[in-house]
Symmetry: C2
Subunit: 238 residues, 2 copies
């Protein structure tokens, strides 16, 4: 979380968020603030409630995990405002970026994101599975370092297997893969594995999966994607 | 910059970085620290110097702009250590993520990164241009929200034109595009445009280009990518 985001939360009249995240920012809250902790599934309701309070003239902080602009709450608030024929100015909106899961995960295993990368969510609740499959195929062929968000849930277990099968079609089975669960939290769990062994590795809904590109190597407990792609340009000392 | 990164800089015995970034973190520095500001092109020398000081037993902070793990200095330090048959433990390494250009840019125009996205650097100094073109084509076809890093330099002006031509082959010419230059700095400059008008718009080496996906819309001065892809799943109220 950046100091700017911390200040925004501390200065707000009202703070709205999923109850777990409200607990995490508890040290920033102060007496007199309206604090509304809502259940995990009610994202749209949280956005609506924030706008309602803002229309009363309150400054409202909507708390999101990671980066609120990456699969987070910022888009829901703006979508909701757009639906209400918002003029873009009243209520005023400011988006404070944060560290998203792929960055937190990457930082714990070294530097896997030193070259072109993409993020793909395997959740097909709001995206047709064919669109997700198309992106997995494109990422595999074009050799992006790839971060998989929402790789698996209790009911959704087939998607990660299909993703692995797609990658194995185009990539070396020994491609390094990092699994980072709950980065920076007390129950953090890190696994370095390979594409061919990924299916047997522990992946759940709190895990971020990072698949390297053709240049990515592991060294001791680290995963490193060189800046020069497949050695290109390094001879010149650039 | 996160509080964790600020603390790491403040606690270090030595701080190394490109001179402009050293100026930006000047308020964090304290008397008695070794501070080495090096010119912009000498990334590898900065990594070598940091390792040299670390071998003397000093705690060294290597400062990078944005996220040091995304096209930044973290990879160079780890690559250099790897070359020296490092055991992965001594010297110890910690990577502190930060806000990368695509997040800073996105936050200033709304929420364009609410769906699957990718980052592609148009610099062909360390990557063969064919690999970059392959990624541009994949990103355009698979409808990723796409961030272009290093879109143009004084000598490198053709790459952005080729990138636009590739996108226009597969995407609607009215696809929203945001150009964000020097996000959060005094000379910040933001332009909302479209794919077909991008070539005429102001793009330089300090600009991040964000190209929307098929769902992305502009509303007043905002760029919003809905969470539901092309309206999928929204009827169910998910």
């Amino acid at each position: 979380m950046t100091p700017a985001a911390q200040t925004a939360v501390a200065c707000a009249d009202a703070v709205i968020g999923y109850s777990l995240y409200i607990d995490l920012i508890a040290p920033l809250l102060r007496p007199g603030q309206i604090v509304e902790a809502l259940p995990i599934t009610q994202e749209r309701q949280r956005a609506e409630r924030a706008i309602e309070l803002a229309h009363w003239g309150l400054t409202v902080a909507v708390v999101s995990s990671g980066d609120c602009g990456i699969y987070g709450m910022a888009g829901l608030v703006l979508e909701e405002l757009q639906r209400m024929s918002w003029d873009g100015k009243t209520p005023g909106v400011q988006v404070f970026p944060g560290i998203t899961a792929l960055q937190a995960a990457a930082s714990r295993v070294g530097a896997p994101l030193m070259h072109d990368f993409c993020a793909i969510s395997l959740s097909d609740l709001l995206t047709p599975w064919e669109a997700i499959e198309k992106r997995l195929t494109a990422a595999a062929i074009a050799d992006f370092v790839t971060a998989l968000y929402n790789p698996r849930s209790q009911t959704r277990t087939q998607q990660i297997a299909t993703a692995i099968a797609i990658f194995l079609k185009y990539r070396d089975p020994n491609t390094p893969v990092a699994l980072v669960r709950s980065a920076y939290r007390q129950d953090e769990h890190i696994t370095l594995t390979t594409l061919s062994e990924l299916l047997a590795a522990p992946v759940d809904m709190l895990t971020t999966v990072l698949i390297g590109n053709q240049s990515t190597r592991t060294h001791a407990d680290w995963m490193i994607t060189p800046r020069g792609y497949l050695g290109f340009g390094e001879q010149s000392g650039a």
